[in-house]
C-alpha cells in the first residue's frame, strides 16, 4: 500500500479521476478532498454519491466529471445503494459472472446526507458489515441548498435557517459527533481527515478502502462560500481547525484511538473563529464557552488515545 506521508508526492498519481472543469466554488475544500480521495482510491472503484454539493458540481447531463464508475440516486441512501453494489459484486463474483477480485465500493455524502437524513442508511450498512468505505465530506451545513443548518453545524455558527439575531447566537446545539457514532458500530476502521493535511487524508482513504469490512472517514471540508471567508484562506482554516483542537485528526483501528497529528499546545479557538464571517457575531463569552468545550472534548480524546495505548 502507498504511504503518502512517508514518500510524499512521489507516490501521488498524476491521474485525475475527478476531472477538472467541474462547477465547485472557488476555494472549495470539499472538491479538493474528493480529488485527493479519488487519487488514493485509483481506478478500481465504484462510487455511490448522495445528493449534495459534490453531486451537483460534478454531474449535469449530458456532462460528467467522473472518470471512475459513479452512481447518484437520492439524498439519504448512498450507504444503502453501496450495500447493494457490494452485495451484487460479491455474489456475481461467486457465481462466475464477473471477476471475483475486490472492487473498492465507496459511498460519499455531505454532512446532511450523513448525520441527518442518511444516518439510518449509514447505520444499517455499517451494522451489516458490508465491505465498503463511507466518506463524509463535512462542510458543516446544507451548502448546496443555501447554507442551512445541519446537525453537523458547529455551535455559534450563523446559517440561513439558524441565523444569528438579537435573540439568537445562530446554532445553539453542539456538532453531532459522527465519528463516535461510527465507532459505536464496532467497525474495523474509523478516521477523521482534512484536505489541509493531504497525505494524511490519502493514507487514510487508502487504508479505509483496503480494510476488510466497513470503514468510515469523516473529512473536514472547508467551505469559503458558506463559512464566509476568503477562498484563499480555505487551507489555512482547515489547518487551524486541527491546531485549535476544533477538528482533531485521529484514527480508530479496531476500536483503538490514535492521534494522527499531535498538537502539543492547542492554539486558541479565536484564531480559527475570527477568520470566518459565520462566527463574526460571537461575543467574548460565547467564544470562551466554545474554548472550554473544545478543551474538554480534546481531553476526552487524549484519554481515549492513552487508554488505547495502555491496552495495546
Amino acid at each position: 500500500m502507498a504511504d503518502y506521508i512517508k514518500f510524499g508526492k512521489r507516490q501521488v498519481t498524476k491521474e485525475e479521476y475527478l476531472a477538472p472543469g467541474h462547477r465547485a466554488c472557488i476555494g472549495c475544500g470539499e472538491a479538493l478532498a474528493v480529488r485527493l480521495a479519488c487519487k488514493a482510491l485509483g481506478r478500481n472503484v465504484i462510487i455511490s454519491n448522495a445528493t449534495g454539493c459534490i453531486e451537483i458540481i460534478s454531474s449535469q447531463l449530458p456532462w460528467t466529471s467522473w472518470r471512475v464508475p459513479w452512481i447518484h440516486t437520492l439524498f439519504e441512501n448512498a450507504a444503502a445503494v453501496a450495500s447493494g453494489i457490494e452485495a451484487g459484486l460479491k455474489v456475481m463474483g461467486r457465481k462466475g459472472r464477473r471477476s471475483s477480485d475486490k472492487v473498492n465500493v465507496v459511498a460519499i455524502a455531505g454532512d446532511g446526507g450523513t448525520s441527518d437524513i442518511g444516518l439510518q442508511a449509514l447505520s444499517g450498512a455499517l451494522e451489516r458489515g458490508h465491505d465498503m468505505l463511507y466518506l463524509c465530506f463535512d462542510n458543516e451545513a446544507y451548502m448546496n441548498t443555501g447554507i442551512q443548518r445541519s446537525s453537523a453545524t458547529p455551535f455559534g455558527a450563523s446559517t440561513t435557517t439558524a441565523p444569528a439575531g438579537k435573540m439568537s447566537i445562530g446554532q445553539v446545539t453542539w456538532k453531532k459527533d459522527l465519528p463516535s457514532i461510527a465507532v459505536a458500530h464496532n467497525i474495523p476502521y474509523v478516521a477523521t481527515a482534512c484536505p489541509s493535511y493531504p497525505f494524511d487524508l490519502m493514507d487514510k482513504v487508502a487504508k479505509g478502502a483496503a480494510v476488510d469490512g466497513p470503514a468510515y472517514i469523516h473529512i473536514f471540508s472547508m467551505c469559503p462560500t458558506g463559512w464566509r471567508c476568503a477562498p484563499e484562506l480555505a487551507i489555512e482554516i482547515g489547518r487551524l481547525a486541527v491546531q485549535t483542537g476544533i477538528f482533531p485528526l485521529y484514527e480508530v483501528e479496531d476500536g483503538k484511538y490514535k492521534l494522527s497529528v499531535k498538537v502539543p499546545k492547542l492554539k486558541p479557538v479565536v484564531d480559527y473563529l475570527k477568520r470566518q464571517g459565520r462566527f463574526g457575531h460571537l461575543s467574548e463569552d460565547t467564544i470562551q464557552e466554545i474554548q472550554d468545550r473544545v478543551h474538554k472534548d480534546h481531553a476526552k480524546l487524549v484519554d481515549k488515545v492513552a487508554s488505547s495505548a495502555a491496552v495495546a
Partner: protein
C-alpha cells in the same frame, strides 16, 4: 413436467425466485409480505439459493440496495406492502428512470391510519405513476407465473424496466393453493441469463444519475414514457411465449362470460374469483351480466379495454381504494378516461368496496351489480358509492 403442489403462495414466490436464480434479495419485514422474504432467507440459509440476502433497516434502503445491485448487473428482487411501499416511494421513480429491471412483489395492504394489515389496493394506487410495469394477479398460479414473466419482461433489452407484481395481502399471500411450480430446465429455457448492457464497472467507467437541467430533463421523461408504452409489445410477446411453453395463457384484460353481456363488472386482483362466482349465480338467475378483469395495470391496455366493453351498455368498475374527494375509485377514473373519446361506450359506474381486508361476498357482488344497473338508469347524486359499509 412440472408437478402441481399444495403450497402457500408466499412460499411459492420464494421457490420461483430460487429457480430464477436471483442474485440479491434486499428486504425489510412488513405484514403481509413477511412469508415471502422469510422463505427466501431460508433458501439462502440452507444453500438452496446462492444469493446475497441483505436484511436492510428500512424499505427505503431495500429498494436503494436493489438499485445498487441492479446497477452492477445483478438480478435484484424485493417484496413489500402498504406502508413499506410508501416508504420506498421516491426510490421507485429512480428504479424506472434509471432503467433498472428490479422485480418486486407487493402484498397489497391499505395505508394508515388507522393501521391495517389486511388487503386493499390503496398502496398500489399511490404508486401508479412511478413508471414501473405493474401486473395484478388473481390466484397463486398467476402470481408464480407473473414473477417468472416479470424477470423476462423487465430484463429484455428493449424494455429494461422494473416490474411490480401485485397480489392481495392475506387473500393471496397466505393462501395454500395447488400451484404448478415449473422445472428448473423449463425456467432456464424460458428466462435468458441477465446481461445488463451498461453496468457500473471499473473496466468501463460510466456515470449514472447525473442531474437533469431544463435543457434535457423533458427529453429524459419523454423517452421514459415512450419506453414504458412500447414495453407492452414485449409483455404480450412474453405471455404468448409463456402460453406456448407452459399452457397457461395470460392477457392484459381477462374475460369471464363477458361476450355479448349487456352489463359488465370490472375487477382487479383476487376478488375477481368471488366476482366470477357471483356472475355465475346472476346468469343462472337470468341476468345479462359478465366479468372482465384488468391484469396489466401499467402500461395501461387502452385497446383491450375499449374492445372488451364496446358492446356493453353498463360497466361497473370496482375499486378497492378511494381517491379522496375525487371523481371515484382510481381504477374507474382511468377506465372513464380511456373510454371518453369513444363514440359508443357503456355508462360507467364507480363502486368502492373491500377496503382494509373487508370481504366482498357473492351477495355483496350481486348488490354492487344490482345497484350499478339501477344507477345507470336513474343516475346518482354521488360521484361513486361505497358498498358494504355501515352508515
Amino acid at each position: 413436467m412440472a408437478k402441481r403442489v399444495g403450497i402457500e403462495v408466499s412460499v411459492a414466490i420464494g421457490e420461483v425466485c430460487k429457480l430464477i436464480n436471483v442474485d440479491v434479495v434486499a428486504a425489510y419485514p412488513i405484514t403481509p409480505q413477511t412469508h415471502i422474504v422469510e422463505h427466501l432467507a431460508e433458501l439462502v440459509a440452507d444453500g438452496e439459493l446462492d444469493a446475497s440476502y441483505i436484511p436492510v433497516e428500512s424499505e427505503h434502503s431495500a429498494m436503494s440496495a436493489c438499485l445498487g445491485a441492479s446497477a452492477v448487473g445483478a438480478r435484484a428482487f424485493t417484496a413489500t406492502a402498504g406502508q413499506g411501499l410508501e416508504l420506498m416511494h421516491e426510490v421507485l421513480y429512480v428504479a424506472s428512470s434509471m432503467r433498472l429491471p428490479i422485480v418486486m412483489t407487493v402484498a397489497n395492504r391499505p395505508l394508515s391510519s388507522p393501521l391495517s394489515v389486511w388487503g386493499d389496493h390503496s398502496d398500489a394506487m399511490a404508486v401508479r405513476d412511478t413508471g414501473w410495469i405493474q401486473i395484478f394477479t388473481e390466484n397463486g398460479q398467476e402470481v408464480v407465473d407473473s414473477v417468472l414473466c416479470a424477470f423476462r419482461i423487465g430484463e429484455d433489452s428493449r424494455v429494461l424496466l422494473p416490474v411490480m407484481v401485485h397480489l392481495d395481502g392475506f387473500h393471496l399471500t397466505h393462501m395454500i393453493e395447488p400451484i404448478y411450480i415449473p422445472e428448473q430446465s423449463e425456467v432456464d429455457k424460458f428466462l435468458p441469463p441477465f446481461n445488463y448492457p451498461l453496468p457500473l464497472d471499473p473496466e468501463r467507467p460510466l456515470t449514472m444519475g447525473a442531474f437533469g437541467p431544463p435543457v434535457i430533463f423533458p427529453e429524459t421523461k419523454k423517452a421514459q414514457e415512450v419506453n414504458l408504452r412500447a414495453a407492452k409489445k414485449v409483455v404480450l410477446e412474453c405471455w404468448d411465449e409463456f402460453g406456448k411453453v407452459f399452457g397457461r395463457h395470460y392477457h392484459p384484460v381477462e374475460h369471464y362470460r363477458s361476450e355479448g353481456a349487456r352489463v359488465l363488472l370490472l375487477t382487479m386482483g383476487s376478488f375477481s374469483e368471488t366476482a366470477a362466482a357471483a356472475i355465475d349465480k346472476m346468469i343462472t338467475d337470468g341476468k345479462d351480466v359478465g366479468l372482465i378483469r384488468l391484469r396489466l395495470w401499467r402500461p395501461f391496455p387502452f385497446e383491450e379495454i375499449r374492445q372488451a366493453v364496446k358492446d356493453a351498455e353498463v360497466l361497473i368498475v370496482l375499486d378497492r381504494a378511494i381517491s379522496f374527494g375525487g371523481p371515484g375509485g382510481p381504477v374507474c377514473s382511468e377506465i372513464r378516461s380511456a373510454l371518453y373519446g369513444e363514440d359508443k361506450r357503456p355508462k360507467i359506474i364507480s363502486a368502492v368496496s373491500g377496503l382494509g381486508g373487508r370481504d366482498i361476498s357473492i351477495a355483496g357482488f350481486e348488490e354492487i351489480v344490482g345497484r350499478g344497473i339501477e344507477v345507470s338508469q336513474t343516475g346518482s347524486e354521488q360521484e361513486f358509492e361505497v358498498f358494504g359499509v355501515r352508515e
